[in-house]
């Protein structure tokens, strides 16, 4: 049985969805390196920081995430980290993506588990 999920949200790439998830997990601690680390930890593969920024930039344009500069840091020569936060709309889209994924996976996971037996 399938359930239709309304998706008014834009089409996101796999990397963008993963970055969205990482933003949700990291909360206020999310910035380039932390997000890349988070993704590396989950996927087990080294993540390109530039790819993270490309995804963040698009999420920012779509209004799903927002950039904020932290306080200046001496180890960065007086420059601040660029933090990213999930917007309410971002949270909404993430929820939908989650539901969509769950809906999509439900049948298949049970199917495979049956055939495995």
């Amino acid at each position: 049985m399938t359930r239709r999920i309304k998706t008014e949200a834009p089409d996101l790439t796999a990397v963008e969805v993963r970055v969205l998830i990482a933003l949700a997990r990291l909360g206020s601690e999310a910035y380039g390196v932390a997000i890349a680390d988070e993704l590396t930890g989950v996927t087990g593969r080294d993540t390109s920081i530039a790819a993270v920024y490309a995804a963040l930039d698009r999420l920012d344009r779509l209004g799903l995430a927002t950039a904020q500069l932290g306080s200046p840091l001496p180890e960065r020569g007086g420059r601040a980290k660029r933090h990213y936060l999930l917007t309410p709309r971002g949270r909404e889209v993430l929820k939908r993506e989650h539901d969509l994924a769950m809906a999509l996976w439900r049948g298949i996971v049970s199917g495979t588990s049956e055939s495995d037996r």
Partner: protein, 891 residues
């Protein structure tokens, strides 16, 4: 700990401005963590990997910003317009790696050859000399129409007179060159090149010292204190780069001299090996004109031309006889001494300019050839895509859009070639500046400056435009109905391909003829007898200090003792010393050209100019194997009648003496004592490998010899050994220092090395053009092969029908080969004609071979023709795959 510099720089360039700081700081932070966790090397690898993997993301970021911005700038709009074309072209090139590699490598090699030669030409010929207002600096000298000397120097009296009376110069300086011993300071004795200069030398050149103060024009006169100026190299090498050396005294030829200044790095005038300058105490009120033994450099007043300056000085030169009585020696047959003014740069660069321009010409031909080759590849490619193009046009693509597609592809290929050149050339130039420093003036100034990069850019842009035009020309008439048509017809495109192939054959032949002429000329230089044998000979130079060696006999005794001990060493076959070894360059430095007065019984003595006056010890001729033709040379301990001074003359000079030279008398122009010819020896090439054998007089250095105008204390020693010449050097040093520890052993080198250096310039140009030609033949022949292999593959359908109708493969091969042979013949004819016309340009570089040397032309034509046949035969092998079954398949 910093990340890899170039990777970081690349990221900096690629990253969009608003994200640049954040991204780079993040990467730095992650890099620091990688260093802590995995070590420096792995962290750097990680960073480079990040950099490479970032490129697509960073490009995507830039595109996003352009696409979303409201009012994109012109650049952004161009990027949006061309971006898809470039991406498309990139993908298509990636799909055909064979084509792309061949095109990029061919173009890249040619671009590299052009960039490298242009950088050389730029540094040597275009770039001004490294002095303030260098275009106002001129070389001042004379020429002596009556004596046939085209380039003579300046004389002391001439300098003071010109300097006082001229109206076109702001200043004028004189200099000459010598070598001195540096001793003291607890460091080993050293022999360095010194330039003795007039007080206004440095102000004229407009060079400021690094430390201290150089003297000005006011410190004049013969009694001004004798001070020296150090070169940067000498200062760092011998005095540890200590600025406190200024004001202190150093020991020059055993005498204390105060250091006035240190010059900046890179300053070396008049020759690159000068390391010390000493002010000579010239008398501004000199009454003698003197010898033309000095170099002179002048600075013109602003706006004055070289011709005006020369006219000004010539007006003064005509007044010289009123001023100086001894100036008449420079005029003969009513032709007086004339002044000569030339731009300083032309004098510094000398005759290398033609060699460099020839190299640049060869590189340009190579580029045209490679261009023709790649154009052919593009043509073939565009034919393969004719149907696609026809469909595109039918769907409404404008010709401009189609041209853009081709341009994007050719630009990428040109950019790849340019990048290839940009990577290859700096390394090649570094190698070159080390190898060519000996004979190529200013080569150490070679670097890839803005002009070189602009040159490369221009070549790249022209190459991509021409290639795009060729490809576009082919597809401009593509129509939708081509879609259904076969590919094997069309005369025009066959003609275009064949013309390009013929151009390659022609250019390959022209280059090969040039290389062949230069190669034969070089071979002639190598095989031309020098008059002596250089194998297994070690040489070095000694200079005896004045104290302790003021008498000729003391000097002779030193050399006698040293040579005796050297000869006793195991493995030494012979040893001797001479004032200047042939081809060593010392002849010119020491002004040993001199005049000789010949006694003619019953008539007034005859004066002969330009005879080499040399000093040689017993054993010298045996060591370098100069044959003794008649009479005899001396053995150690020989005594002779004190009333005669015995000398030996060269064969060519003996001929000038006329009749039987043995027993004739002559004397040096400055020393009235008569010398008697007792022997005749073989001729030797002294100045350079191209010059004629020189007239020479050898005076023996025996402890009984007369003192003569030349200082016998500086000699070059030659030692012939049975083994490796270098192995004997420690023993030599030990012997010299055991006789006198104050005598330096300098300029240690084998005679082979001296000869090789004398030939190096010819070897350089011959190998440069030779390599270009070899590359040209290779590229040209690969192009020829590709053209005909493609022709065969295009005609496969037609050929297979003929096979089905009963034609033999041999018949087909003859049909395919016929136009190919015609084309090669046409190419050879054009190439031969081109070489015939162009070989004049290298005429002055050739030695012993004419510019229209038949043998070279024939051999080059046979070689190019032969290789062409091989290439054509190779392409015919494709006929094996033609069979009757293919006739049934659709084209």
């Amino acid at each position: 700990m910093t990340p890899p510099r170039w990777s970081r720089r690349l990221l900096e360039i690629l990253t969009r401005a608003d994200l640049r700081d954040a991204l780079l700081d993040d990467l730095d932070e992650a890099f620091a963590r990688q260093v802590a966790a995995r070590g420096r090397a792995r962290a750097r690898r990680w960073y480079r990997r990040q950099c490479v993997r970032s490129v697509p993301s960073l490009m995507a970021l830039r595109r996003q910003s352009i696409a979303s911005s409201d009012a994109p700038g012109l650049l952004a709009r161009i990027r949006v317009a061309t971006g898809p074309a470039i991406r498309h072209a990139f993908r298509r090139l990636r799909a055909t790696p064979g084509f792309t590699t061949a095109a990029v490598a061919t173009l890249g090699l040619a671009l590299a050859a052009n960039l490298a030669t242009f950088a050389l030409v730029d540094a040597v010929l275009i770039h001004p000399l490294p002095y303030a207002d260098a275009d106002r600096l001129v070389d001042v000298g004379h020429w002596t129409p009556g004596l046939g000397q085209a380039r003579a120097g300046q004389a002391h009296g001439g300098w003071t007179f010109y300097r006082r009376e001229n109206r076109t110069f702001t200043s004028m300086a004189v200099y000459n060159q010598n070598m001195v011993n540096l001793t003291g300071g607890g460091v080993a004795a050293e022999r360095v090149n010194i330039s003795m200069v007039s007080p206004d030398f440095f102000p004229t050149l407009g060079v400021a010292p690094l430390h201290g103060r150089v003297w000005g024009g006011d410190d004049e006169g013969p009694h001004a204190p004798l001070v020296v100026v150090l070169s940067y190299q000498l200062w760092t090498r011998r005095y540890g780069g200590d600025p406190a050396i200024v004001g202190q005294a150093i020991e020059v030829n055993g005498l204390p001299r105060q250091v006035a200044a240190v010059m900046p790095a890179g300053f070396a005038f008049p020759t690159p090996d000068v390391e010390l300058w000493m002010r000579e105490g010239f008398d501004p009120n000199e009454t003698r004109f003197g010898d033309l033994a000095y170099g002179s450099v002048g600075r013109l007043k602003p706006g004055v031309t070289v011709a005006q300056a020369e006219a000004d000085l010539n007006a003064l030169a005509s007044r010289l006889p009123e001023q100086f009585s001894d100036v008449r020696q420079w005029s003969r047959n009513g032709a007086p001494l004339r002044a000569r003014v030339e731009p300083l740069k032309a004098v510094v660069v000398g005759d290398m300019s033609r060699s460099l321009l020839v190299a640049l010409g060869a590189a340009a031909l190579m580029l045209i050839l490679s261009g023709a080759n790649v154009a052919n590849l593009f043509l073939i490619r565009s034919e393969r895509r004719l149907r696609d193009t026809g469909i595109c046009r039918a769907l409404g693509a404008s010709p401009w859009a189609l041209f853009l597609t081709n341009l994007a592809e050719s630009s990428l290929v040109a950019a790849g070639g340019g990048a290839f050149a940009a990577v290859l050339v700096p390394a090649a130039l570094r190698l070159l500046s080390v190898r060519a420093a000996q004979f190529l003036p200013r080569v150490d100034e070679t670097h890839l400056g803005a002009r070189s990069w602009i040159w490369l850019g221009l070549l790249m842009v022209s190459a991509s435009l021409v290639l795009a035009a060729v490809a576009h020309w082919r597809s401009r008439h593509a129509r939708a109905h081509d879609v259904g048509r076969g590919l094997s017809a069309s005369r025009s495109r066959v003609a275009m391909r064949h013309t390009l192939a013929a151009v390659q054959v022609a250019l390959a032949l022209a280059l090969l003829v040039g290389a062949g002429l230069l190669g034969r000329s070089f071979w002639n230089l190598i095989t031309e007898p020098l008059g002596f044998e250089s194998a297994r000979i070690e040489t070095f130079e000694t200079d005896l200090p004045f104290r302790g060696y003021s008498k000729f006999a003391d000097v002779a005794r030193f050399y006698q003792t040293m040579l005796e001990r050297v000869r006793a060493l195991p493995g030494v076959e012979a040893a001797g010393a001479v004032s200047d070894l042939p081809l060593s360059g010392y002849t010119i430095k020491r002004y040993l050209n001199s005049d000789v007065v010949i006694d003619r019984p019953g008539q007034s003595p005859d004066e002969v100019r330009g005879v080499r006056w040399k000093l040689a010890t017993p054993g010298y001729f045996e060591t370098v194997r100069i044959p003794i033709v008649r009479g005899h040379w001396f053995s150690p301990g020989d005594r002779f009648d004190a009333s005669i001074i015995p000398i030996v003359v060269s064969q060519s000079f003996a001929r000038r003496l006329g009749g039987d030279a043995i027993g004739r008398r002559l004397h040096h122009v400055d020393d009235p004592r008569w010398c008697t010819v007792v022997g005749i020896v073989g001729n030797v090439r002294d100045d350079d490998v191209r010059s004629d054998m020189s007239d020479a007089v050898y005076v023996p250095v025996l402890d009984q010899t007369f003192s003569n105008p030349f200082n016998p204390s500086t000699m070059q020693v030659a030692i012939r050994v049975s083994g490796r010449p270098e192995a004997i050097v420690p023993d030599i040093r030990a012997i010299v220092s055991s006789i006198d520890s104050k005598v330096p052993v300098a300029d240690v080198q084998t005679l082979d090395a001296i000869v090789a250096r004398a030939r190096a310039r010819d070897a350089f140009i011959a190998s440069l053009v030779g390599m270009t030609a070899a590359l040209a033949v290779l590229v040209g022949m690969v192009g020829l092969y590709a053209t005909f292999a493609y022709t065969v593959s295009l005609r496969r359908h037609e050929l297979s029908i003929r096979v089905a109708l009963g034609a033999t493969i041999a018949r087909l091969a003859a049909d395919v080969a016929r136009p190919a042979l015609v084309l090669v013949g046409a190419g050879l004819l054009c190439g031969g004609l081109m070489a015939w016309l162009a070989s004049r340009a290298i005429g002055s570089l050739l030695f012993g071979v004419g510019t229209h040397d038949g043998l070279t032309f024939v051999l080059a034509a046979v070689l190019v023709g032969g290789v062409s046949l091989v290439a054509i035969a190779g392409s015919l092998r494709r006929l094996r795959f033609v069979n009757a079954v293919q006739a049934l398949q659709p084209e």
